[in-house]
Symmetry: C2
């Protein structure tokens, strides 16, 4: 069952290919960019997959559309529900509006107004809850019970993981013969989908997960082999403040070659480098993949590397290099 508690079923390449066909008219096929001056900094040939140019400004549109369009008509008509203070909430709102079904998004009371507006823009209803995991899950369960809506978890859902895996299919098609693909890791949905797709299509290509040292639960879980808790985190990479689920840990253990972490200063530096040299607006979470390359240059020296720029939804009034 895609959303069942503790389930660990995962999509395979056929599921990811089916997802790609399913969402083709709903999301953009984003470009792959290169930048000679960043290549010179890293000492490798980087190919940036531009998911900050995706609908709703992040790859999350892919998983959300796949999950929403997998639902049978009679189930879909009752709507979908999720909890997210970030891009997944907007993605579910977008996917539901495209399918013409209702959506509810549970958000903590401290979520910025701009993120609530992003969700409401697509006609979704926002349910405010206390900023705790328990309150969030209870609010989701309430909506499910009241409305019959289907839960679409931000990452612990094989339909969502299959959708996120479509990023890698397009990256490998545009930039063949990559030695390495780097994806940021929060809950692990993007990294799991990427790893399954890459290792199936191009077994010689290594997949590396990128994580802030300030939210390194995935790196610790990868090392120990079991789910390690994430203490309160202060990373500026707000999209990566979640921990893995058993499902995503299973995919990562099976298909990912390494998880590297980076400093907060490294994230700011990489983000600014992408703004300055590529002229692209990315959010801190998206810069984490480049940050680990800058801090682990020897691991990729001379290689052809795919880098997933996961999203571009950043508060332009609070860019992290501007003193306040």
């Amino acid at each position: 069952m895609p959303g069942a508690e503790g389930a660990t079923d995962l999509p395979d390449l056929a599921d990811i290919r089916a997802a790609h066909t399913r969402i083709a008219g709903l999301v953009h096929r984003t470009p792959v960019m290169t930048c000679a001056s960043i290549d010179a900094e890293v000492g490798a040939a980087l190919h940036f997959k531009c998911e900050h140019l995706q609908t709703i400004g992040a790859f999350k549109a892919r998983g959300a559309c796949n999950a929403v369009y997998c639902l049978p008509d009679d189930v879909a008509t009752r709507g979908v529900v999720t909890h997210s203070s970030g891009n997944h909430g907007a993605a579910i709102a977008y996917a539901a509006s495209r399918r013409g079904i209702p959506a509810w998004v549970v958000m903590p009371e401290n979520a910025p107004q701009v993120k609530q507006d992003n969700v409401r823009r697509f006609g979704a209803r926002v349910r405010i809850c206390a900023p705790t995991v328990a309150a969030r899950e209870a609010a989701c369960a309430d909506v499910e019970r009241e409305t019959g809506a289907s839960l679409v978890h931000p990452f612990d859902d094989s339909r969502v993981i299959a959708g996120q895996g479509t990023v890698a299919l397009e990256l490998l098609a545009a930039a063949p013969d990559l030695d390495v693909v780097v994806a940021p890791c929060g809950g692990g949905g993007l990294l799991s989908g990427t790893a399954i797709a890459v290792r199936s299509v191009s077994p010689k290509t290594q997949v590396i997960g990128a994580e802030p040292a300030n939210a390194d639960d995935a790196a610790r879980s990868f090392a120990s082999g079991r789910l390690e808790a994430l203490a309160t985190t202060t990373t500026i990479a707000d999209g990566l403040r979640t921990s893995l689920a058993p499902r995503t840990l299973a995919a990562i253990k099976a298909h990912v070659g390494a998880l590297h972490t980076c400093s907060e200063q490294g994230i700011v530096r990489a983000m600014r480098m992408i703004f300055e040299r590529m002229k692209q607006v990315v959010e801190p979470s998206a810069a984490v993949a480049l940050a680990i390359l800058l801090e682990h240059r020897t691991a990729v020296r001379g290689l052809r590397v795919g880098v997933i720029l996961s999203g571009g939804n950043v508060d332009l009034d609070r860019l992290p290099w501007v003193p306040r």
Copy 2:
């Protein structure tokens, strides 16, 4: 003569096509982007030509490369000289480094360190002068006399205008059947080249110049038919703080349909809109074209409009919407 005082010879379509061939291996063929949510704001179908993704971060690389590569070998070997505190200086430095000839760039003593570094990065020599037109011209003349270097003026040069006109050739190829093309106007090099190219290739397409109201010499010159002076200007669009030359005024009078101006707040608003919705880093001068569309919506309602995003070299520590 390309650089002669008061000369008004202009390139034709054949010159612009020849420039396009000449610079093909030296500059990028930049992409054309669209953005549904900005289209909805303006009420038109916009096609953004992304010269902020050009080598050195601005269209100026085109004109500079064309002028530098037009020089006969025995002349080129003595080098090139120009005056510019902005993108043209970096463009000449880049073009000269590609051709392997020396370059001198005269800059006012108040030019920011980052702009001097941009020029030195390509091996050009920087000559500092007092921040006046007379001092700048004297310093250029000194370099010409001492070294035999050839002057490449930032816009009052038909080879430079031909190079800038190649932007429009690519835009029309990627987005045929445009009703209007909008280009920002400072000294008028880009607008002249654009107008000549567009009116030759697609006579039914109107060309509109975009200018800050705070530096509206071109709009006033266009209205009166003769060169009007530019008083000291305070526009944040630092690339557009120059006035027309007789040569560029002649091209604009012959081929441009209208010049529109916009407010300073309009520039900031358009620039932020491009950051937020297109996830593209552009400089204030590049946002002026969208700003005039937002302030003159009725002029383009329902039309297919090409918009030249001229450059992306902006000081990220001083974005204009962030209070200091």
